[in-house]
């Protein structure tokens, strides 16, 4: 047990170190000469996730609204606040967190597999031999690209989920779009909390996945293990960050 805790602590220290190195690399302007890499990564992480996020968030929006209305109609006949409450939850919680979890699986696995393959084929060693820092070339572009795109996709995910929810409410309960699509309950704190979460997930996922990739050992088996580790750790990181940032939001943003 104590050994497992020591290993976990050690891995947290390494994660913190990689985060610091990446942040320093970005601040030092390592991406200035790698703008094309940044654009490629933004396309890979963001554009290629659009369909995935559209499908996931719209289905989630439909199911959530359907389930809530089904329960509410048993208690009260008034559906007027369902839309505003749903929109608030999407902005504050579901939009960024579900998007974060989806990015953790799709992007996290991709980053770990790509970096892990570079490790086992000695490309990372070759970078170090060329006096180039692997963090500058491999982690920094993914870090910035994922941070920006997760935020964009979260905003998009909220829009998609809310539209899907409002259509469900209209089709099954004849709730008008005017009644559903109201922002009465949304406060600035909800928007800030949602964006903060999206940004935190977006910056954490590539670090966790890159660490898994950079620590790959062995051949293709090692790459498989690194990919699994990346998805599990990145998803777990999203959940833990959600807990921490939700707590922070309730204490600070909502007073």
């Amino acid at each position: 047990m104590s050994q497992a805790i020591a290993q976990w602590m050690d891995s947290m220290v390494r994660l913190g170190r990689l985060f610091r190195q990446t942040f320093t690399s970005v601040l030092k302007g390592s991406l200035r000469r790698r703008r094309s890499q940044l654009i490629v990564q933004m396309y890979e992480i963001g554009n290629k996730s659009v369909l995935f996020i559209t499908a996931t968030l719209s289905i989630l929006g439909m199911i959530s609204v359907f389930q809530v209305l089904k329960q509410v109609e048993k208690i009260v006949p008034d559906f007027s606040m369902i839309g505003p409450a749903f929109i608030q939850m999407m902005i504050r919680e579901f939009g960024p967190t579900i998007t974060g979890l989806m990015i953790a699986t799709r992007v996290g696995s991709g980053i770990a597999a790509e970096v892990g393959s570079m490790v086992v084929t000695e490309q990372v060693d070759a970078l170090r031999m060329s006096n180039a820092k692997p963090v500058d070339y491999l982690v920094a572009p993914r870090f910035v690209a994922c941070g920006i795109q997760t935020m964009m996709l979260s905003i998009y995910g909220v829009v998609v989920g809310v539209i899907a929810g409002s259509i469900t409410a209209y089709v099954f309960w004849n709730i008008s779009f005017g009644m559903f699509l109201r922002f009465d309950l949304v406060q600035w704190g909800d928007v800030v909390s949602g964006l903060l979460k999206a940004l935190a997930y977006g910056f954490t996922i590539p670090i966790v996945a890159s660490q898994a990739g950079l620590e790959t050992k062995g051949g293709s088996e090692g790459v498989g293990a690194a990919t699994t580790r990346a998805v599990v750790n990145a998803s777990f990181a999203v959940v833990i960050l959600d807990l921490l940032l939700s707590g922070f939001s309730y204490l600070v943003l909502y007073g």
């Binding site: 890499q37 000695e122 490309q123 060693d125 070759a126 170090r128 031999m129 060329s130 006096n131 050992k217």
Partner: protein
């Protein structure tokens, strides 16, 4: 002169090196042979700090470099080039950009100047026509040539060749042998070559060391290897399936 002194290295439960000691003379071609998993690549990576030993010392030109920081190893890596087993060209860069990378990073050359010089090195390995192609466009043999060009850009004092002739045709392999001989004789470059290619070993090696069970089993000239009575070395050189040799991971 490169000295590996009593090097131990363990990865998890697997002890790869168990006290390897080896002296590599300056300007010579030193082959390191052994079965797959014997720790040949692991040993050479200690020289450039890609792997740090659990125990033992590494000396380069009389200086103990074992405890150098990553920053301090840049100086060593400027003098010691590596041609990796998988060629390790970066997929996102053209051949010319790959060769230019060490020039930009180690020498601080501007991109244009680095690319011009990269072209000269590509010409040396007959790859100038492929300068603007990507590594994925060509086969292993051609990629390896570009990797050699990249290693030579820094005009190194030592070149580590990790299985340089594996996966390439016999003529290209002979070219690589010739290049190593040229580097050694004309430019006093020390070559450390990891190889299973026996034909190549007996053609160009000055010294040969065989790693077995994490230690140096035999070190000497190719002639000494040819005439040895050690049954394990004989089995390896003759390529016999039956014999006293134990393979890594078996029987542990």
């Amino acid at each position: 002169m490169i000295v590996f002194q009593d090097i131990y290295k363990r990865f998890g439960k697997k002890e790869v090196l168990r006290g390897v000691s080896l002296n590599v003379p300056k300007g010579k071609i030193q082959y390191i042979i052994g079965t797959s998993g014997a720790g040949k690549s692991v040993l050479t990576k200690h020289l450039v700090g890609l792997i740090r030993p659990d125990k033992g010392r590494v000396l380069f030109d009389g200086r103990d470099i074992t405890d150098c920081t990553e920053q301090e190893y840049f100086e060593v890596r400027r003098r010691v080039a590596t041609v990796f087993q998988h060629a390790t060209l970066f997929d996102s860069m053209t051949m010319a950009e790959n060769v230019a990378l060490p020039l930009r990073k180690h020498r601080g050359c501007k991109q244009k100047e680095a690319l011009e010089r990269a072209m000269e090195f590509l010409k040396q390995v007959q790859m100038a026509d492929y300068a603007h192609r990507y590594p994925s466009d060509v086969g292993d043999g051609l990629r390896k040539r570009v990797a050699i060009a990249r290693a030579l850009t820094m005009e190194p004092e030592v070149v580590i060749f990790d299985e340089p002739t594996t996966g390439i045709d016999p003529l290209a392999a002979a070219n690589v042998d010739q290049l190593m001989r040229h580097l050694s004789e004309q430019m006093t470059v020390t070559s450390i070559v990891i190889s299973h290619d026996l034909r190549s070993i007996f053609r160009v090696a000055d010294r040969v060391a065989m790693l077995y069970k994490g230690r140096v089993l035999l070190e000497g000239t190719p002639e000494e290897f040819r005439n040895t009575t050690n049954p394990v070395v004989r089995q390896f050189i003759n390529g016999d399936a039956e014999g006293p040799m134990e393979f890594p991971g078996v029987g542990r």
